[in-house]
Symmetry: C2
Subunit: 239 residues, 2 copies
DNA sequence: TGGTTTTAAAGTGTCGACACTTTCATTCAA
DNA sequence: TTGAATGAAAGTGTCGACACTTTAAAACCA
């Protein structure tokens, strides 16, 4: 049976685990699931109408992304981010992105400036903080991708969601306060872009570090500065 | 039944998955499992006398560590590292470790120099390349831990095994050639230590970058420079 | 009533099974 | 003899179940 044109189509295998992952991640970042909330495999499985296996896989991935925390008892909770976590994430970004800036700057092309200028233009027009931060992340991801270093990108992606969680939670406070207007973000990216396109890798790297440090000032959050033991899995596997 | 002293003992839950992980990782790094070798869940499960569930978890973790590769068909193989992979790993290390050096240098204490000097002394006495590289990794991990940044450490650990795979495979070639004697490694670490202890974070960071670049020169490996599509999972989940 | 013990509910780690897909060797046609 | 069709074997993604542990509530005694 010579099927109608099926040369390399590769039947996509079903992947409930991925759907669960995306769904849970979105709920955590949006704040629908709050830090400290319990994530029990059986109840999630029932919610998603699946068995526990895909849920379990999704939870393991979320733990690696830092959005979820395995207790020593084996139970799973939505992670609570403290000020120290915030600092760590900033530092990790500085490490990865300043090297990315150095490498990207060395192979800069006009189209890169064009793309990022367009991104900044959209930032200026953004009407919500959510949209603004989406564009912010896109800007930085673009630089990461420019390096064409898959590992650098993978490492960055593995803290990306924690970063977005920080962004979203501070935004939930600032939405009313409006204490950090678009203008700052926009002009900061404009300066950064200039450095990236300057053809001086050292300068680009340094400006990137400053940009990140400037954009990630800690704002007191609604999350309790609880005394939880801070257990980002440094050892492999649960518990 | 007031059990004899059981205050916070926390019964360790069984964890076959971890044993499988450690075992497979060791086999891959030692070369017992060669790049390209198939890793089928049912056969591994039979080998370990377990079911597929723990094996599956271990494979997912190994994929995140970069030692294993999921094909688009869902099959799993031991990863083949090419020269480009080697370069990427080096660059990722530069990113993470030069920042680590900067931060560690800023909070340097005499005991840190003492510990690392002892490490170097052991390097000088090392009788096998395997032992030498164990000490090498320990040196660098110590600097990472000094930063007290769990995320930086986690990121570093997530490429650590790929790095060790590189080391081991080049060592398997050099064991006979002996083209990179201890002395180079030892003196390189000695200079690095001096920079770390110098109290100048900028210098420490720069020296660390140079040290890593110098220590990771590509040596043509036995692994075919195959035309495999290089798929380090940039998207979440298998396939 | 207050504190301790008992008991049930909830949850994790693992298991074996099923459905479907891919792979590979064999058969068949040209 | 070579190449396409076919069938069985192997493999993945998911499922429901079981044993054991932890958690919470209920029962109990003082």
């Amino acid at each position: 049976m010579p099927d109608s044109a099926k040369p390399l189509a590769l039947n996509p295998r079903r992947n409930i685990a991925r759907e669960v992952l995306l769904s849970l991640r979105a709920e955590i970042i949006s704040g629908q699931l709050q830090p400290g909330d319990a994530l029990a495999e059986p109840v999630l499985a029932k919610q998603f109408g699946s068995s526990r296996a895909p849920v379990r896989e999704a939870l393991i991935e979320l733990e690696r992304e830092g959005l979820v925390q395995f207790e020593l008892t084996g139970r799973t909770k939505v992670r609570t981010l403290t000020e120290q976590d915030f600092d760590e994430i900033r530092d990790a970004r500085v490490a990865l992105e300043s090297l990315a800036a150095r490498r990207a700057s060395a192979k800069w092309a006009p189209k890169d400036s064009a793309y990022l200028e367009q991104n900044i233009a959209q930032q200026a027009k953004a009407s919500t903080l959510a949209e603004l931060s989406r564009l912010d992340v896109e800007f930085h991801e673009y630089v990461l991708r420019l390096t064409a270093n898959k590992r650098l990108l993978t490492l960055w992606q593995s803290i990306r969601w924690q970063f977005e969680m920080c962004l979203a939670s501070t935004h939930r406070l600032q939405e009313t306060l409006a204490c950090k207007p678009h203008q700052i973000t926009v002009s900061s990216h404009r300066h950064l872009l200039a450095a990236l396109a300057s053809g001086k890798p050292e300068v680009a790297a340094q400006k990137m570090a400053l940009h990140i440090e400037g954009s990630m000032e800690w704002t007191p959050s609604e999350t309790s500065t609880a005394d939880h033991p801070h257990g980002l899995a440094t050892e492999t596997f649960r518990r």
